[in-house]
Amino acid sequence: MKPVFEYTKGMREMELHYCPGCTHGIAHRLIMEVLEERGDLGNCIAVSPVGCSIVAHHYLDVDMIEAAHGRAPATASGIKRVHPDSPVFTYQGDGDLASIGTAEIVHAAHRGEKFCTFFINNAIYGMTGGQMAPTTLIGQKSTTCVEGRTVAQAGMPLRMAELIATIDGAVFVERVSLSSPAEIRKAKKAIQRAFEVQEKKLGFAFIEILSTCPTNWGLNPVDSIEWLKENMIPYYPLKQFKCPEEVK
Amino acid sequence: MSVKKIFIAGFGGQGVLLIGRMLAYAAMYEEKEVTWMPSYGPEMRGGTANCTVCISEDPIASPLASTCDVLVAMNGPSLDKFESMLLPGGDLFINSSIVTQKATRTDVNVYYVDCNKIAEEKVGNGKTANMVMLGAIIQITNIVGLAIMEQVFEKVMTGGKTALIALNMKALEAWTK
């Protein structure tokens, strides 16, 4: 009998600590599948953030380093200087990338750094217990906006893919979602393109991945998927903003 | 020889730091100990500039000068500000091309050097004014020898500037007592 699915080679065989319904598990698996298919598990060096996925290095079977909060793009820039031909990626959440790390991600894009960034946008801070993120939606409740986010108090939510797409050095920018099998397949294609962009040294590749956080949204896993589709996708449109000719 | 301290001051662009660096190179090629310490900071951005050159046979302790043996005042405000730094019996060089006032000290040796005029008329090139001043300093103080300056110019003025070496040597000897 031919196996139809196997444990992803790039995932170390252990139980993930992520919450039921959290899409980190899917995101991790997609990236590792792409690396395996490209024969790059042995070459890859990755940078994990501060956030729920701070422990990603336990799960991913590649050389990996934990960066200080927000600094993953700077850390990756340093690694890439020493190993210019090795595939390098950063994996970051809302606080890491869209709050404390905005200078680092903008400048990595600005310099056209030859690595990929996977931005896990779940519109809330997970690890620290559900505070408002720059990506939290208007009216969405969090522990630091218990009545729901208002424009007056916190401004409109930040659209990072759009922001990064305005920078010339960011040559591949796409927003995807993990809210259905079809969208997951599209997300994997985007990840494949991102690593191709890196291999061809075309410039910075940025993928924003809309994700769920059932625990801090106060929803069960199934309802979380629906919430994402109904609330996040309208505000954060799924779109390929930029793609170089060479990888189309 | 115990430490000799030379303090050179003027406004940014007068070649104050350059004169100091030339002296420092000369002292090094004569195998003496030397330090060159510039002022740096807002005064550099269009204000007064100064540098301290210390020359000695023995290793130099402090590169700073609260008093000096030789003072070079390239502009009026520098003369006003630093005249009191000079030790009694020291040598004071004043750029009389633009400094109109006279020295007030009577216990030092004063030399008025009309750098710009000498550079234009005797050397034939107005841009050598600060080398004229450097020449005066070397001739009077003998803190380094005139001969070593050719080696200094060779090292410092490389490439397209080689033609300037002869011109600058001429400028060094242009002022006479």
């Binding site: 598990l41 042995g42 070459n43 890859c44 060096i45 940078v47 501060v50 701070i54 422990v55 290095h57 336990h58 991913l60 079977d61 590649v62 050389d63 990996m64 380093i65 934990e66 960066a67 200080a68 600094r71 700077a74 850390t75 990756a76 820039s77 340093g78 690694i79 890439k80 200087r81 020493v82 190993h83 090795s86 200078a103 680092e104 903008v106 400048h107 310099r111 | 660096r21 420092a24 190179y25 090094m28 100990e33 030397v34 330090t35 060159w36 310490m37 510039p38 740096y40 900071g41 130099i60 302790a61 402090s62 590169p63 700073l64 609260s66 008093t67």
Partner: protein, 358 residues
């Protein structure tokens, strides 16, 4: 190469790093050390290295974190307020035991402070600076030549101890020119040589070994305690083996100065002035600020009645001096702050006041 060259401090420091095999530099402009990134931006690519003008000092130290983790020989530099900004990164480097050489061309502070030289970072560099239990190894040069030699040594020490090493120079050393002998150029490790030389470095596991994961967070505190206790012996070793100092005229001195960096040079000239007036003084010049050379203080002779710490700060090293003396002798302070320099005449005058000499 024994021919002397007249070099500006900052440029000499950069050159020394290059010759010591440094191939990665990340920096942000800040006075009075800008000649260092400027030099690196011109010269690193020529030797196959890489330079990034980072978006901030915060980014620079984190780039160094990545490059050092990847096995590169890295240097970063800044001046006091920029070093303060880097402290998170320095603690991070120490927490995962990575070698990086850090140049602090000190200026007056606190806050944005003065662009003129200072020594008020003593606490910042020797007392952690960042959070948690670690030490930086700290060298304090007092001439351009010594700085170049310490930088050359720092890369070796950083890799032997797997620890950040700070060179605490100051704006005066950075800006002045002195004749120096440039240390011989050493080859740098190639990318292929990294795994053998640095088995802990991130190079990609190539399917030939277990993956390396470098983590700074520890969710189980028992494990973190074990980890910290596990690396602590290197600091005990450093205290035994790395402390350095220079001692001048301790046998004869009635008063002993303690000073580091360019302040020590000023004190040497003050000692000459005092000697001419029959006042016998000596000097202990710490060359390492951490570990502090406590041993030097046991060399103080029976004639010595007074210790004077001379610092460009409100008295930071003075506490280590008192600690080393264990209360045996009175310690006074002669100081300037805020970027003001002290000159030999002032040191001599204030010394006489302390000694109540008419």
């Amino acid at each position: 190469m024994t021919e002397k060259k007249l070099m500006k401090g900052n440029e000499a420091f950069a050159k020394a790093a290059l010759n010591a095999g440094c191939r990665y530099y990340f920096g942000y402009p800040i006075t009075p050390q800008n000649e260092i990134p400027e030099y690196m931006s011109r010269e690193l690519a020529k030797v196959g290295g890489a330079f990034i003008q980072a978006e901030s000092e915060l980014a620079a130290v984190n780039m160094a974190y990545g490059a050092a983790a990847a096995g590169g020989r890295v240097m970063i530099s800044s001046s006091s307020p920029g070093i303060a900004l880097m402290q998170e990164g320095i603690s991070l480097l120490a927490s995962v035991q990575l070698p990086v050489v850090i140049l602090n061309i000190m200026r007056g502070g606190p806050g944005i402070g003065s662009i003129q030289p200072g020594q008020a970072d003593y606490n910042q560099v020797t007392r952690g600076g960042g959070n948690g239990d670690y030490h930086c190894i700290v060298y304090a040069p007092s001439s351009i030549q010594e700085t170049m030699d310490m930088i050359t040594k720092a890369f070796e020490v950083a890799e032997e101890y797997r620890n950040p090493v700070i060179i605490a120079a100051d704006g005066m050393l950075g800006q002045m020119m002195e004749p120096v002998i440039i240390p011989e150029a050493k080859p740098a490790l190639t990318e292929e040589e990294i795994p053998a030389a640095k088995p802990w470095a991130l190079t990609g596991h190539k399917n030939k070994r277990e993956r390396i994961a470098i983590n700074s967070v520890w969710l189980e505190q028992e494990l973190l305690e074990d980890y910290i206790n596990g690396y602590w012996p290197k600091y005990i070793k450093a205290e035994k083996e790395l402390a350095e100092y220079e001692a001048v005229n301790l046998e004869d001195a009635e008063t002993v100065f303690v000073a580091f960096g360019s302040t020590a040079r000023v004190v040497l000239e003050a000692m000459d002035i005092l000697a001419k007036e029959g006042i016998k003084t000596g000097l202990i010049r710490p060359k390492t600020l951490w570990p502090f050379p406590n041993e030097a203080f046991s060399k103080i002779g029976p004639k010595t009645k007074q210790i004077i710490s001379v610092e460009l700060s409100q008295g930071q090293m003075i506490h280590d001096v008192k600690y080393a003396l264990e209360g045996r002798l009175p310690v006074a302070l002669i100081n300037r702050v805020g970027g003001m320099l002290i000159d030999p005449v002032e040191v001599a005058e204030r010394t006489k006041k302390i000694l109540e000499v008419k």
